[in-house]
């Protein structure tokens, strides 16, 4: 027998939640810009994507640092959940960082297949991180 209780609280500190909102918006926007570039070959789209992804990396880096601390000191959150969140944030950040370098290439090479794939990885990882970070947590009660 186990008792679970909805606390109504999310695991993220409000400031942490605000920081996560940036990559959560910026990486998908970067993906949309990449798609627009690949569709149109109009360079302003890859320029947009470069800034959006750089912004995602900047805030994503802060989120990553916080997630590492949160994984070490989970507090009321379960460690498994904290680690899953950390993994999502790490994938998001690293893919974004590599993608920033990819986007520093000139012309078509700034996106191409690698840039598109990395943007998709960052976007999916950001959405997963958001889904974990923003969902209500259940505190597992004392079992048995």
């Amino acid at each position: 027998m186990s008792i679970s209780r909805r606390t109504g609280a999310t695991p993220l500190h409000p400031l942490h939640a605000i920081l996560l909102a940036f990559p959560l918006a910026l990486f998908p926007s970067g993906l949309a810009s990449d798609i627009a570039y690949l569709k149109s070959a109009f360079v302003q789209w890859t320029n947009f994507a470069a800034w959006l992804i750089a912004g995602g990396c900047f805030f994503g880096g802060l989120v990553l640092a916080w997630a590492i601390v949160a994984a070490v000191f989970p507090g009321r959150t379960t460690r498994g959940r904290a680690l899953a969140y950390l993994a999502a944030v790490a994938v998001m950040f690293v893919a974004g960082l590599v993608n920033s370098f990819q986007h520093s290439h000139d012309g078509w090479s700034s996106v191409g297949s690698p840039g598109l794939i990395l943007s998709i990885v960052s976007t999916v990882a950001a959405l997963v991180a958001g889904a974990i970070g923003y969902s209500e947590q259940r505190i597992e009660g004392i079992a048995r």
Partner: protein, 432 residues
């Protein structure tokens, strides 16, 4: 899976991906140079030679030549012109400041490249140097014209001094002997200056003096600012000297940084800087006769039909008609100066040929260029491998100086080299 591990993996990937040069690969000379496979690594290979200063050292010339600093404390000397009376004009300036930084990369790369440049602000002026006693030091150093806008190319024809600012070709009434020009410049024609990614406007007059040729660089490395801003770029203009009417003589010629007339054929030649970020040994810069109506490939292809995948949409019809340049100078050497020997040159091995000033590389780990080479000619065509003529600009991994313009003066039999890192004009003369 920890973030730290991923970061480590990413940085290892980035470093390993930089690409290495093959030191045995000789990419100079006439004919097709070896062109390695393209390497678009995550980070381009980058090596900036930090400024070291000359101290008591001077550049190294071949045995039998003496090197002196003709003038020091200049403000970013670029190109020079030797006047009929032996006076030397030096264009000082640095342009391109208004080229917008549109990506995070532009800011970071700009900062990194600035580490290899002088901190002195461009003079925006023409300085006159006179060494009447021939001791190798200019006893007269006067500001001839000031208030210019990043002047670069210079020409003197029929009582008119032509100055190619970064945005316009100006002429000033001028007689050799003058040390001050007070007359306001007259605009011969505007020159393409929107963005001005490659801002230098090289200039030479045709042998008969009726035409002026201006080299206009591309507005990007390889079209990444959009091809609509490349209208009138990567071209050499032929300008009617009296009317200012102009037409493109050649196109697709990425950055023709210096022009010169070959004295036996009166043909126009250019040194041209090719594209970056395809690997440490792509693409070789070149020296070429500028053929009327020719298209040299930029941005669609290089060295003839080698397609650059970064340009989209690609243009197979343009690639098909791309002209192959005459002579490879090596990848990323950044040739910025060209001057033919005239009237027997220095004699001996340096009788017929051309001096090429190489500013030096950033886009390869092994520093390349940073010297002045001699390319022998015969019958108005290159005839042999380049020979190092003036070296010593590198001190290990640091740069004492960086050569830009070169000018051979057949009357005095001296070679002048503008050094825009040490802000010096060097004079190379045979020991008598």
């Amino acid at each position: 899976m920890s973030a730290r591990w991923l970061l480590l993996a990413a940085s290892v990937l980035a470093l390993q991906g930089c690409g290495r040069s093959d030191p045995g690969l000789d990419q100079t000379g006439a004919g097709k140079p070896p062109l390695p496979d393209q390497q678009q690594t995550l980070l381009p290979p980058m090596k900036i030679a930090k400024p070291a200063g000359w101290g008591d050292a001077v550049p190294t010339a071949p045995k039998g030549f003496k090197v002196t600093a003709l003038a020091t404390d200049l403000k970013v000397p670029r190109q020079m012109l030797v006047l009929p009376n032996g006076d030397i004009l030096v264009a000082e300036g640095a342009g391109g400041a208004q080229a917008p930084k549109v990506r995070p990369k532009d800011i970071i790369a700009g900062y990194i490249k600035a580490q290899g440049k002088t901190k002195v602000k461009g003079g925006n002026r023409i300085t006159l140097l006179r060494d009447a006693d021939g001791d190798g030091r200019a006893e007269v150093k006067e500001t001839l014209i000031e208030g210019l806008n990043a002047p670069y190319g210079l020409a003197f024809v029929d009582g008119q001094l032509y100055v190619a600012n970064q945005d316009a070709l100006l002429r000033f009434p001028f007689q050799p002997g003058q040390t001050k020009v007070t007359a306001k410049g007259v605009e011969v024609t505007k020159l393409p200056s929107r963005i001005n990614h490659h801002w230098t406007k090289s200039l030479v007059a045709s042998a008969d003096g009726t035409k002026l040729y201006v080299g206009i660089g591309s507005n990007s490395n390889v079209g990444e600012r959009g091809l609509d801003v490349e209208e009138d770029r990567a071209t050499v203009w032929e300008i009617d000297r009296l009317t200012g009417a102009h037409r493109p003589l050649a196109q697709g010629i990425r950055n023709p940084t210096a022009l010169a007339i070959e004295p036996t054929t009166n043909a126009l030649w250019a040194v041209v800087n090719e594209r970056d970020e395809l690997g440490p040994q792509l693409v070789p810069d070149y020296l070429t006769a500028v053929r009327d109506g020719a298209f040299y490939g930029w941005p669609y292809s290089y060295w003839g039909q080698n397609v650059d995948p970064r340009v989209h949409p690609q243009k197979p019809d343009m690639v098909a008609k791309a002209t192959i340049p005459d002579y490879a100078l090596g990848s990323h050497v950044a040739a910025l100066g060209v001057s033919f020997a005239r009237d027997g040159g220095f004699g001996g091995d340096f009788r017929e040929g051309v001096f090429v000033g190489q500013h030096g590389s950033w886009n390869r780990q092994d520093l390349s260029g940073y010297k002045v080479v001699w390319i022998p000619f015969a019958g108005g065509r290159p005839n042999g491998k380049p020979v190092d003529f003036v070296t010593g600009f590198l001190d290990g991994q640091k740069a004492r100086g960086r050569p830009v313009g070169v000018a051979f003066d057949p009357a005095k039999r001296i070679l002048l080299i503008a050094d825009d890192l040490a802000n010096t004009v060097w004079r190379i003369a045979p020991v008598r």
